[in-house]
């Protein structure tokens, strides 16, 4: 038997069913007696509801029920919640407005939910929805985060000046002192453009009430079904947890947008009891654009203080973060603890002070999106570092090296304690892969062809796994961020692993099985990874924040327990001392003898229970672990982007993209490369193509379809040059870090540093579309003439 080992590029077990069309997604699930729902949504960005008349809709053909915010209120259901309390610098708690699942008196963004229409067919529900008469009193909207605090429009009465919190991090006096003695101060204004997630599978749900058990089942496109159940039970009050089963089957991409508990799934679950029929809803793509939680949307001013020797002394950052019309589930944490804590980058910076104002606007809620706060932090630090090198006329590599952290552990002024890393190693490898030395010649050759070449770096660090539960609790998190694993060995030696992590593209069914098979010395096909159903897995925190390393550590620790118990059983069967039993290559051996038992033989003995004293050892072979990480993991690396710009059209072509990442020990290099590739695609999408835009006067989403929202396509992207360096993570037994978000975190800064290098401009915001690039060239040339 060739044991699949950790570190092998094993093909993904799950791909057979995906590629052959046998995936089972939420919309594939059809329940007996199922009805179909359509949501009446606000066409206005901001309006008072003067009346919602559902009588004609209720009388329409096929309609089973029409329910509104008044019905929700009558049943005393709670609103949607934000689960992370942020405290402002003046000590006051964040100021959150109510977030009813169906609007009661006010609608606050285009797409806000007003009523659910439930009918025998989807077409009937949609037809009847047009008969719901809503009387609006339109109010002026505010959409620009930079103007939200001074605008006359008040999105929520609870948040004066539309300000949810004014948060700070770092050491202000030290930072002021650093700036006071600085030889040079570099300043930069940046925006981090709003992105719309666009998972391939739109959000969907089926709510079902079973009168026989008085229990509910919700099938839903979720990255964390247990958290959804907890929130819907404890805060919204649909049913107690033991009467609510949440199933997240195959999920076709999330990128964060399916972490959150949305109005639609709450309402469909609740409504299934009202109409005594299962209720299904699947978003149309237009609804995804309008109502999936968006990402990013920051406006930032940053300043970097340097001494005469180009050593960084301090960093000052002021950011306004747009959270949209309501606070989504984890929205408050994204521009604070997932952002401010990463502002030290790879640099030895003793003084950092950052302030973040979070604001309400009449736009879709903004929450975590691939990288969540860390791309925004990396964008700030890596853009200003590159700009500083240019102003100091230093090579950006030399300038970075002068300031790298090299001693570990390293305590930053912004909470994080970097445990391990070698930033020079990934930089060196990347410089070689990118042929940095050859760049001046390539730039000259491009110039001879009338093209503008530029090169940009991003030496990034990020933090994954989210984090010791007590630590996040002290920072305001409403939940812990541990993960669970239960390993059940069957009597014939098969292994079922129940994990609270959820797989929606990450390939857990393969990588988790690799860890188990490699560890137990059994074939991959003997291992089944089970996730995504609150009836199967006791509890789990789900997948986001590149945190599967936490889940894998839980699995690894459960395997420790399995091995320990199996050794005891093997000792009895082999009539040896437990201390003499060694476990290798799937066999339990008595050291120094030829007496041995295969793993499956020990499993059978565990369940037969004939040959060991059950007063000392319980029959069976099943162990579980709730693993709480002791630190974040800190992936880091270097991305180098080389672009060529056609000055005639403003088209930016990425001629070369290099990424060398340190993810610690890698379980499956092929899957990790895939994660990096996808992440970079999204990062390049943000830098060059994607932009969620609202009309500033009407509050309408201008980029509400693929006619106007530019998704990255294969021909927008180069073939990447990828490499890995390894410093094992000291805080988990497998030495691994997270890899899911690094590409999206690191790459936008590299691309924009390359674009600004090519253009010779300082301030230039994403996305670098042809029209905006051409306008910048045009401005520069007009100024020169």
């Amino acid at each position: 038997m060739t044991a699949p080992v950790i570190g092998a590029s094993i093909r993904r077990k799950e791909d057979h069913r995906f590629i052959t069309g046998q995936g089972r997604y939420t919309d594939d699930i059809n329940r007996h007696g199922q009805t179909h729902a359509y949501f009446v949504r606000s066409p206005h960005a901001h309006a008072k509801l003067r009346g919602v008349d559902t009588s004609a809709a209720r009388a329409a053909k096929g309609v089973v029920g029409v329910l509104t915010g008044a019905d929700l209120a009558a049943d005393k259901l709670g609103g949607l919640i934000c689960g992370w309390m942020i405290t402002s610098k003046d000590g006051t708690p964040m100021k959150a407005g109510a977030h009813p699942a169906l609007a009661v008196d006010t609608v606050r963004y285009v797409g806000d939910h007003i009523a659910i229409v439930i009918a025998e067919t989807y077409g009937q529900a949609k037809d009847a929805a047009e008969l719901v008469k809503v009387e609006y009193e339109e109010l002026p909207p505010v959409v620009d985060p930079a103007k939200a605090q001074s605008d006359a429009t008040q999105v929520h009465a609870e948040a004066p000046r539309n300000t949810i919190y004014q948060w700070e991090i770092g050491n202000k006096p030290e930072t002021e002192a650093a700036f006071a003695k600085a030889a040079q101060i570099v300043k930069l204004d940046l925006t981090n453009n709003r992105l719309i997630p666009n998972a391939m599978e739109p959000r969907a749900c089926v709510g079902e009430y079973d009168d026989a058990t008085s229990g509910y089942t919700l099938y839903v496109t979720s990255q964390n079904p247990h958290v959804a159940r907890l929130v819907m039970s404890a805060f919204i009050g649909i049913a107690p947890e033991h009467k609510l089963r949440v199933v997240a089957p195959d999920v076709g991409g999330g990128f964060g947008s399916k972490i959150f508990i949305y109005a639609e799934e709450v309402v469909c679950t609740w409504a299934s009891k009202k109409v005594r029929r299962p209720v299904k809803w699947t978003a149309e793509r237009s609804e995804s654009f309008l109502s999936d939680a968006h990402g990013r949307d920051h406006v930032t001013h940053a300043e970097l203080a340097l001494d005469a020797d180009a050593k960084m002394l301090g960093l000052r950052v002021k950011t306004i973060a747009n959270l949209g019309a309501y606070m989504s589930t984890f929205s408050s944490s994204v521009p604070t603890y997932l952002y401010g804590t990463l502002l030290s980058g790879q640099y030895d910076l003793s003084a950092i002070y950052a302030e973040v104002d979070a604001v309400y606007t009449n736009t879709a809620p903004v929450d975590a999106y691939r990288g969540a706060g860390r791309p925004e932090a990396t964008y700030v630090i890596e853009r200003i570092v590159e700009e500083a090198a240019r102003q100091l006329k230093l090579d950006p590599v030399a300038f970075r090296r002068k300031n790298f952290v090299r001693k570990f552990p390293h305590q930053t002024p912004v909470i994080m304690n970097y445990d391990a890393g070698d930033y020079d190693a990934s930089l060196d490898a990347a410089l070689k892969l990118a042929d940095y030395a050859g760049f001046p010649a390539r730039k000259a050759a491009a110039k001879a062809q009338g093209k503008l070449r530029g090169l940009g770096f991003s030496t990034y660090i990020e933090a994954c796994g989210l984090a010791p539960s007590a630590a996040v609790g002290s920072l305001g998190a409403g939940v812990g961020l541990w993960e669970s694993a239960e390993v059940r060995v069957t009597p014939t030696g098969g292994v079922e692993v129940f994990t609270g992590a959820h797989s929606h593209g990450q390939g857990h069914e393969t990588t988790f099985a690799q860890v188990v098979a490699g560890r137990l010395g059994i074939p991959m096909e003997n291992v089944e990874i089970i996730h995504g159903d609150t009836n199967s897995v006791q509890f789990g925190m789900g997948t986001y924040g590149s945190r599967a390393a936490v889940g894998l550590t839980a699995v690894s620790r459960a395997l420790d327990k399995i091995e320990a118990k199996a050794k005891k059983i093997a000792a009895h069967v082999l009539e040896a001392s437990a201390a003499d039993i060694v476990f290798e290559n799937g066999e339990f051996k008595v050291a120094g003898t030829d007496r041995k038992l295969a793993f499956h033989e020990v499993a059978l003995n565990a369940y037969v229970a004939h040959k060991f004293p059950t007063s000392e050892i319980e029959p069976g072979l099943k162990e579980s672990v709730f693993h709480d990480p002791t630190n974040f993991t800190f992936p880091a690396g270097t991305h180098i982007c080389e672009v060529e710009i056609d000055p005639d059209t403003g088209v930016t072509t990425i001629v070369s993209f290099t990424a060398v990442d340190d993810f610690g020990n890698v379980i499956n290099p092929m899957i990790v490369e895939g994660q990096v590739q996808g992440g970079i695609a999204q990062g390049i999408g943000q830098a060059l193509l994607e932009h969620g835009v609202y009309d500033k006067d009407s509050g309408q989403l201008i980029t509400g379809s693929y006619m106007d929202y530019t998704m990255p396509r294969a021909d927008d992207l180069p073939s990447y040059k990828l490499g890995f360096t390894v410093t094992p993570c000291p805080s988990n037994p497998l030495g691994m870090k997270g890899c899911g978000e690094a590409g999206a975190i690191a790459s936008p800064a590299a691309v924009m540093n390359a674009v600004t290098d090519a253009l010779g401009v300082k301030e230039f915001n994403m996305p670098a579309t042809p029209s905006r690039v051409w306008a910048a060239i045009h401005r520069t040339r007009a100024a020169a003439e």
């Binding site: 037809d127 980029t703 579309t769 042809p770 306008a775």
Partner: protein, 264 residues
């Protein structure tokens, strides 16, 4: 989409009668604009009259003219040896409309009858001085495209075929909208027996001829002849993807590149 009656006539005569007898009927060709419009509930015709059952497709070359049936799919034009051998610019244009799915469904007649301001075929029809044959008459391309989504077609009139005179040289250069990949600016240049024609799509409310460029190219059919011609942004479209100034600038750039391709 809303409910409608669906008809698939076998003849143009039958199609005309169905149109006359149904209050708010629409003709359906390849459906690449109409079907998404219906799905979005942005149109509510009482009946769809599918022209796909009428024999109107095919490509003929005779007497220096390429005649293409209105029902001919973009893919068939793009891959036709006859078109490639006579007007390669037209095959190239057809091969860059939408994506493969669109090219296997969309038709020449549907495209020009719809006259989307960012569609490609109107540039070829106008740039080559094509003649559009309908159920009742023949219309010069110069008279056919009358405004945004507007043509000279009368109620119930159906395009049956389009005749493209074979030019001496021609090329089409498109700058696609980054999101939709429709033409943000597309320029079709042709040196024909009757003179040079330059047709621009995507930039304004409807396809138009750029007469200053035509005059310059008539004197010298070279990229340099148009390189210095500045197009006024006054009537250009402006939106998220490009200002009117940018589109006006792109007309010159694309014209220059189209001429370069035509003489290459």
């Amino acid at each position: 989409m809303y409910q409608f009656q669906y008809f698939r006539p076998k003849s143009l005569d039958e199609a005309r009668k169905l149109y006359e007898n149904n209050g708010d009927a629409k003709f359906l060709a390849g459906g690449q604009t109409l079907i998404p419009t219906l799905k979005q509930r942005l149109a509510q015709p009482t009946a769809l009259i599918d022209l796909g059952g009428i024999a109107m497709s095919g490509i003929k070359v005779a007497g220096g003219v390429v005649t293409i049936g209105a029902g001919t799919k973009h893919f068939d034009v793009a891959t036709s040896a006859d078109v490639k051998g006579t007007i390669p610019a037209l095959a190239h244009l057809a091969g860059h409309i939408g994506d493969p799915a669109v090219r296997h469904m969309g038709t020449l007649g549907g495209s020009i009858a719809n006259n989307d301001p960012a569609a490609d075929y109107p540039a070829a029809a106008l740039g080559l001085g094509a003649t559009i044959k309908t159920t009742s008459r023949s219309i010069n391309a110069d008279d056919f495209f009358t405004g945004m989504f507007e043509t000279a077609l009368e109620e119930g009139e159906i395009v049956t075929e389009v005749s493209f005179p074979v030019p001496e040289k021609a090329a089409y250069m498109k700058f696609p909208n980054p999101a939709s990949r429709y033409a943000m600016v597309g320029v079709f240049v042709a040196k024909t027996k009757t003179g040079v024609r330059v047709a621009v799509t995507g930039a304004a409310s409807s396809v138009f001829r750029e007469s200053a460029m035509e005059a310059a190219l008539a004197k010298s059919f070279t990229p340099d002849a148009v390189a210095g011609i500045k197009v006024s942004p006054a009537n250009m479209n402006g939106d998220l993807h490009g200002t009117a100034e940018y589109r006006a600038h792109l007309v010159t750039v694309m014209a220059k590149r189209a001429v370069a391709a035509a003489i290459a």
